[in-house]
């Protein structure tokens, strides 16, 4: 099952490359770099019941994104991004939250962005998320046997304001989705994958460079 993950990502990358190749080229030659800081909220990775029902989810995590991309034409941009998000994985019951382990989520994605107006754009993303538990305590967690790499798909929207010919500041909202399970969960008998929805908000600072005039 896990061997399908990179294959799915590769398929997505190839699809986006084909789209990029097929698009008009009159605005090519411009690259842009973006740094984004924000926060991410994730739905539960696991729902289980031992004596009482509980969920296991990452706490709201600060995020840092770095993206590099190219202008395909006046309407479309293609970007490759990596996101770092780190927070505590927590077990939540009616009685409160108990931290389990610090958890980093690395997300790599390819985004195709479409300009909707001079100040707004929307994007679709595909990629993969890699969960990386920290510390020595992972032996007693759902990540004891593996920390999976999982394919994601997502959508996003941005409003932006140009503050100089090369600099743009933007406000981003993004959503992505993936299915989650681990070998330890399956070994325990939690055999179905769980859908995980993640929402993030962030502020982006972008700089563009033209190696030739469009």
């Amino acid at each position: 099952m896990e061997c399908m993950v990179p294959r799915a990502t590769i398929r997505g990358l190839v699809a986006l490359q084909l789209i990029a190749t097929a698009l008009p080229t009159n605005a090519r030659g411009q690259i842009f770099l973006e740094l984004r800081g924000g926060a991410m909220l994730s739905s539960a990775l696991v729902r289980d019941s031992i004596v009482e029902a509980f969920t296991v989810r990452p706490a709201v995590a600060p995020t840092i994104d770095l993206a590099v991309g190219t202008v395909l034409n006046e309407q479309y941009r293609l970007a490759v991004a990596v996101r770092w998000a780190r927070s505590d994985l927590k077990r939540s019951t009616d009685g409160g939250n108990i931290p389990i382990i610090p958890l980093t989520a690395w997300t790599g994605s390819v985004a195709l962005r479409r300009r909707l107006s001079s100040w707004a754009s929307a994007q679709g993303t595909i990629g993969a998320v890699k969960y990386a538990p920290a510390g020595t305590g992972r032996n007693a967690t759902l990540f004891r046997d593996n920390a999976p790499l999982l394919p994601i798909v997502g959508l996003g929207a941005r409003i932006e304001h140009r503050i100089s010919p090369r600099l743009v500041v933007g406000l981003d909202a993004a959503y992505d989705f993936h299915r989650f399970s681990t070998l330890a969960l399956r070994a325990e008998g939690i055999t179905g994958d769980r859908s995980v929805h993640r929402f993030s908000l962030g502020i982006t600072l972008g700089a563009s460079y033209a190696d030739k005039k469009p």
Binding site: V46, D48, I50, T136, L155, F177, G189, S195
Partner: protein, 222 residues
Amino acid sequence: MQTRSRSVAALASLLLLGACDSPNAPDRSSFYEFRLSPSDPVFHWPATALPVRFYADQVGALPEYVALGVRMWERQFLYGEFRGELVSDSADADVILSLQGSAPPDGPLTDDPPVTSCTGVTSVPPTTELGSGQLVYTERFQVQLQWFSRGSPSDIANCLARVTAHEIGHTLGVFNHSPTPDDLMARSPTAREPTARDRATVQILYHVRSDILPFSHGLLPP
């Protein structure tokens, strides 16, 4: 218009994917009583006391057996309920394991049938009541292990590893013995590691409220 339809279709696909949630809850119905008597208070290590610190006498391979046993019990949990570590100073320990007599003969762990060539006993410490009515242990947990000249060196090593894991199970709060002889927590264990019943039992134990706090100098009156 066509672009908008495509966007709506993409969003609908995402939502459909999200709707396909079918996790199955595991069966944890097969467990045994972890208290000696149903009226006894419950003990398990609280999250704030983790990792539990184990000290093992530097006799033979005892530290190795303790490390194996701790790792074995950690793996019975999915949600970080228990973690342990070995410490080099008994003064820092929550649990002290000692091996009586001389070092046992050196023998590798094997899959040979179990031979009873060792015993172990866990001393559950006495409790006292704090002003708030909260029970607290007045001492650390102590585990005494002993080996006999019966069987091969590997039989003795297998027995010590098995009984060490069993006694560590007691220090987790499973004070009772399993009525099923196949379980690690049976009175005379033959299993080398916790079974599904042991796992269900300890998981349930760590999801009920603990009535007793572990030993801590700071909690006890002078």
